[in-house]
């Protein structure tokens, strides 16, 4: 732990990694003063200061050796020589070979599904691979079907984006035009039918995008998944593999899952088992919930409070509000033989009530109600900060000033309390 104003200097040898966690309510500044280093595949600029806020987990890897100055309160800062980076870079090389082949044959680039239990570094692995591809001039599609984390949209959504620039060292990938679908819960199990439908829809739309651009097509798709790998979660992984028509599945750190997939998927799909990094930290349930909350906060306020969301009133009559999935009826209430899931992907109009308070709303890109709203992407999110039944208005927190870009809103289960 360091607390001096001068900061501490770490000298990293080649192929080693500096890992640290930022203490809560503290911030840490790092600066590479010598050598070359990268963070999850993004190169660090020399003599530039990067700032990390509380709770951030940082790993700086170097292929060449470097010196890094760390200023601020860190928890357990240490240098590790054991990293799976060589394995990962080999994986990248294999992907790159496949891309070259796709370029030559004018076919589709490799599509990779990254699976594994929770906390094995799936997202980081995806980030590394995407960054390497971008550094070679590719523009791969990064898809995230983990509704719990929602690293592209918000928790409760799945998303994809074409990556043309490497991720920012501090803030990750720039998200100006991601493709986001509204799901509405933070667990795929809450509405599995809808989840699978959205994953298939996203695969379709990405295919259309690939058709439009040869570069995107040959660069391939990297899909990050939720760490839900048993029971229905496993089935939805198989479903996603089929929907995206993946070529490669990377299983991080679980041989059991690897063997299961080997047996259940057609044999032309390459399934490989990869090690996880020793730097991954297991997160508790509370930490996950906090991360979700932080993600929503980040959407509205920015990572460093650099955004300024707007707050304004919206009349009930000016918007149309829907929830996906009719109230689920118990089987006993239904006539014999009908399935309760029939209503799971239906759009149900909802009346605004007080219970809407603190809920996150998605602004659908659909312009008319007769469009298939469920399968249309969303343009952004709002949080209801107040409901006034008498005036028939509700107050929302919105990323940009009024008016709203569309008037069709979808209600999510996700709640966020706007406390400054």
């Amino acid at each position: 732990m360091t607390s001096e104003d001068e900061g501490e200097e770490f000298r990293l040898q080649a192929n080693s990694e500096l890992r640290f966690e930022v203490e809560s309510k503290a911030s840490v500044e790092i600066e590479m003063v010598d050598g070359q280093a990268e963070m999850f595949g993004t190169e660090l600029a020399k003599n530039k200061k990067y700032q990390y806020l509380s709770g951030a987990k940082v790993a700086v890897f170097t292929w060449h050796g470097c010196t890094i100055k760390v200023k601020g309160k860190t928890e357990v800062a240490y240098i590790s020589k054991e990293t799976p980076m060589v394995t990962y870079v080999n994986t990248h090389a294999a992907m790159e070979q496949m891309r070259e082949r796709a370029d030559a044959e004018n076919t589709r680039g490799p599509r990779m599904l990254v699976v594994g239990p929770q906390d094995v570094g799936k997202s980081s692995f995806c980030r590394i691979l995407v960054n390497y591809a971008v550094r070679l001039g590719r523009s791969p599609v990064l898809a995230d079907i983990d509704v719990g984390q929602g690293s592209l949209g918000l928790p409760g959504t799945i998303g994809a984006m074409v990556v043309e620039r490497t991720a920012d060292v501090e803030e990750g990938f720039q998200q100006t035009a991601p493709l986001i679908f509204h799901y509405g819960h933070n667990n795929p199990n809450d509405n599995l039918q809808l989840y699978n439908m959205l994953v298939s829809r996203m695969a379709e739309i990405i295919s259309v995008r690939c058709e439009q651009s040869k570069k995107v097509n040959s660069s391939g798709v990297i899909i990050n998944t939720a760490g839900w790998i048993r029971g229905a979660g496993y089935e939805s992984l198989k479903q996603a593999a089929g929907a995206f028509e993946v070529d490669v599945i990377c299983v991080l750190d679980q041989e059991r899952l690897y063997n299961q997939l080997k047996g259940d998927l057609p044999d032309f799909v390459k399934i490989v088992l990869l090690p996880k990094s020793g730097g991954v930290v297991e997160r508790s349930k509370a930490a996950r919930a906090e991360a979700r909350d932080g993600r929503i906060r980040e959407y509205f306020y920015g990572l460093k409070n650099n955004f300024f969301p707007h707050s304004f009133d919206v009349k009930f009559n000016d918007v149309k509000m829907f929830k996906v999935g009719a109230p689920s009826l118990p089987e006993s209430c239904l006539p014999l033989g009908t399935k309760a899931q029939d209503s799971q992907t239906k759009l149900v109009p909802t009346l605004p009530t007080n219970s809407l308070l603190h809920h996150v709303l998605s602004v659908s890109a659909a312009t008319a109600v007769d469009q298939d709203i469920v399968e249309t992407n969303v343009l952004g999110f709002l949080v209801v900060t107040n409901v006034d039944m008498d005036k028939s208005t509700f107050t929302v927190l919105s990323p940009s000033p009024r008016p709203l870009p569309r008037n069709i809103l979808l209600v999510t289960d996700i709640q966020y309390m706007d406390i400054k």
Binding site: N15, Q36, W63, V86, T87, N90, T91, H92, A93, Q97, R101, T107, P110, R135, L136, A177, V208, R209, C210, E211, G231, G242, D247, V248, E255, R256, N259, P266, F268, K270, V272, Y299, N306, F307, F308, S311, P327, P330, S332, C333, L334, P335, L336, G337, T338, K339, D342, L351, T353, N354, L357, H358, V363, A365, L379, D390, K391, S400, P401, M417
Partner: protein, 603 residues
């Protein structure tokens, strides 16, 4: 009758010490029997008439019992006809869980007052004359708080529950409670929230300032009362009331208020003053239309709120521009829009474009093992190859001098990251799933699973699976049944599950969605009457907290079970159970729809 006889007693003279003692003796507290089961028809026998007579006698004697209480112990209240509330000067012990306070007066709701009268804790007078219980029943109960509601209220009160009128506006949301914020919300915040959320009162500074969470509903009641007072002709001052609503209703309300205050001389002057202020302010604002004076009109409140919002956004804007970075997150751009458009186009036109598409979206075949992924599975040491330079981004350089860089020690990795055994519960679940899976045999699933289909791409794989399905369905042991003119309705390959067979046979049509839709008239008919809290010495009227359950009252003769959607609406997000009280001639039954929504009888 009973109460009247008591008042007859007291009208002329106070009780003597002897008779007082006599009546104060603790009486038999047993509740008279309800009379047992209902008979089908009168049979006219002597036994029957005798039993009936005894039964009636018992009732009369119970009702005829004088209720004697020391005057000192009785709380005195005054019935306010215009507001349908009882004004209490010095509230008694019951005040901890009943009544509410506006700025300077203590009010009891009619049902509370009636209950207190029945338990001999309150005496209510009207025009200076004490009221009998019978009168109180007649006067206090109206459409909103009817006899059935009162019966439920008094029943629950007698059982010891703290019963308050249902709060439409949840003061503390579930989410706030979940993150433990409710303990830190102070009274002022709640008040402000109440003010904001409840009836906005830009033009009501006068007699009913907000001091209590219940005030908004009481405020509503006051408003309504005043309105109904305006319209009802039964008041002695009705002649003075200008009947025409549309013209000059500012004057009307002013006049009515003046009438009101004339009736209550004690408070009248103060009220009149505040009300005239109110009127002046209304006129000064240029609100000439009387309608605008009414506080529930959205326009008026809009003005004030939008003003506030304007300020807010303004300040935020200035914040934004003054910040160094100044970047603002916008809504996402519509870069993907043409993908959606193109998708729907291709969906529309169909096959020939589909074929076109295949060329560039064709899966590249990597069957020849030219591409090698590192793979830990089944290896003790994973030897890695040095990737070609051109495959790697610049600045990635794997130093060749250290040999061990190219070997990944899998054994060591496994040692360091041992496979965690499944949690016991997970193990159980898995076992159970496997057992169940083994039990339910589905032909269709079986055909899909094995034998393994050899294919080289996803498209090929799908085609082959479909072919196999078709083939297998044609070659079932009973395929000869399809050869004749008459064929069976269900093919073995359709037998995914019992549902799919039924669907195929079309025996049962799926439930109609329309029945699940919420129709507007259903919503308006039902409203929750009471929030019921468990008896708790720490109960606070101002912070009632989360109720134990809520009660929806209905009479048995016009009650159907509530619709599912209705319950869905009524059971609010905070997960407080809704009890459905059905009153049948004084007998009360409570029904609860639990999470499985089975009809269960509570009492």
């Amino acid at each position: 009758m009973a109460a009247k006889s008591f008042y007859d007693l007291t009208k002329d003279a106070a009780l003597s010490a002897k008779s007082l003692f006599k009546y104060r003796v603790k009486r038999d507290n047993t509740v008279p029997s309800k009379g047992g089961q209902k008979n089908f028809e009168p049979d006219g026998t002597w036994m029957e008439s005798k039993a009936l007579e005894a039964f009636l006698q018992e009732r009369t004697s119970v009702l005829g019992e004088p209720r004697v209480e020391k005057l000192k112990n009785l709380v005195h209240g005054v019935w306010d006809d215009s507001k349908n509330l009882v004004n209490v000067d010095k509230p008694g012990k019951f005040w901890s869980h009943m009544g509410f306070t506006d700025k300077r007066r203590n009010w009891l709701y009619p049902e509370e007052a009636l209950f207190l009268m029945e338990i001999n804790a309150l005496e209510v007078s009207q025009n200076g004359i004490p009221m009998s219980i019978q009168e109180a029943y007649d006067l206090f109960l109206d459409d909103e708080m009817g006899l059935t509601e009162y019966q439920v209220f008094s029943h629950l009160r007698r059982l010891g529950y703290v019963v308050v009128r249902h709060e439409e506006q949840p003061l503390v949301t579930d989410y706030e409670r979940q993150i433990n914020l409710d303990k830190y919300l102070d009274k002022r915040t709640l008040k402000a929230r109440k003010k904001k959320g409840g009836r906005p009162q830009p033009d009501k500074p006068g007699p009913s300032g907000v001091c209590d969470p219940q005030i908004s509903s009481s405020q509503e009641r006051l408003d309504e009362a005043e309105e109904s007072f305006d319209k009802s002709g039964h008041s002695e001052n009705s002649a003075a009331v200008v009947k025409d609503d549309s013209v000059e209703s500012v004057g009307q309300s002013g006049e009515t208020m003046a009438n009101n205050s004339a009736k209550q001389i004690a408070e009248g002057q103060k009220r009149l003053r505040s009300e005239s202020e109110e009127l002046e302010s209304g006129q000064a604002d240029g609100v000439s239309d009387a309608k605008k004076l009414r506080s529930d009109d959205p326009d008026v409140s809009d003005v004030s709120s939008s003003k506030g919002d304007g300020d807010k956004t303004l300040s935020e804007n200035s914040q934004g521009s003054s910040s160094p970075s100044g970047s603002v997150r916008e809504f996402y751009s519509e870069a993907w829009l043409d993908c959606f458009k193109q998708k729907s186009r291709t969906d529309g036109t169909g096959e020939e474009i589909q074929d076109n598409k295949k060329t560039c979206l064709e899966q590249t075949s990597f069957q020849d093992n030219s591409v090698k992924f590192p793979d830990l599975a089944g290896k003790r040491v994973l030897s890695l190859v040095l990737p070609e330079k051109k495959l790697l981004p610049d600045n990635i350089h794997i130093s060749e001098d250290t040999d061990d860089m190219l070997f990944f020690d899998v054994d060591d990795y496994r040692l360091k990251n041992p496979v965690e055994p499944l949690a016991r519960q997970a193990q159980h679940e898995e076992d159970r799933e496997r057992r169940l899976g083994a039990l339910s045999f589905s032909f269709a699933e079986w055909t899909q699973r094995r034998p393994v289909v050899k294919s080289h791409s996803w498209a090929d794989h799908r085609r082959k699976i479909a072919d196999r399905m078709k083939e297998l369905s044609n070659s079932t042991p009973v395929s000869h049944l399809w050869q004749g003119d008459i064929t069976p309705l269900v093919n073995p390959c359709d037998a995914w599950s019992s549902e799919s067979i039924l669907e195929k046979l079309n025996i049962v049509k799926p439930a109609d969605d329309k029945e699940l839709k919420v129709s507007d008239d259903v919503i308006e008919h039902s409203h929750l009457s009471f929030d019921v809290h468990l008896p708790d010495s720490r109960f606070k009227k101002s912070m009632p907290g989360r109720p134990d359950h809520r009660v929806l009252v209905s009479k048995s003769r016009n009650s159907r079970p509530p619709e599912l959607c209705q319950l869905q609406i009524l059971s609010q997000a905070d997960g407080v159970a809704v009890h459905w009280a059905v009153v049948d001639c004084g007998e009360i039954a409570f029904y609860v729809f639990d999470t499985k929504r089975t009809l269960g009888l509570l009492t």
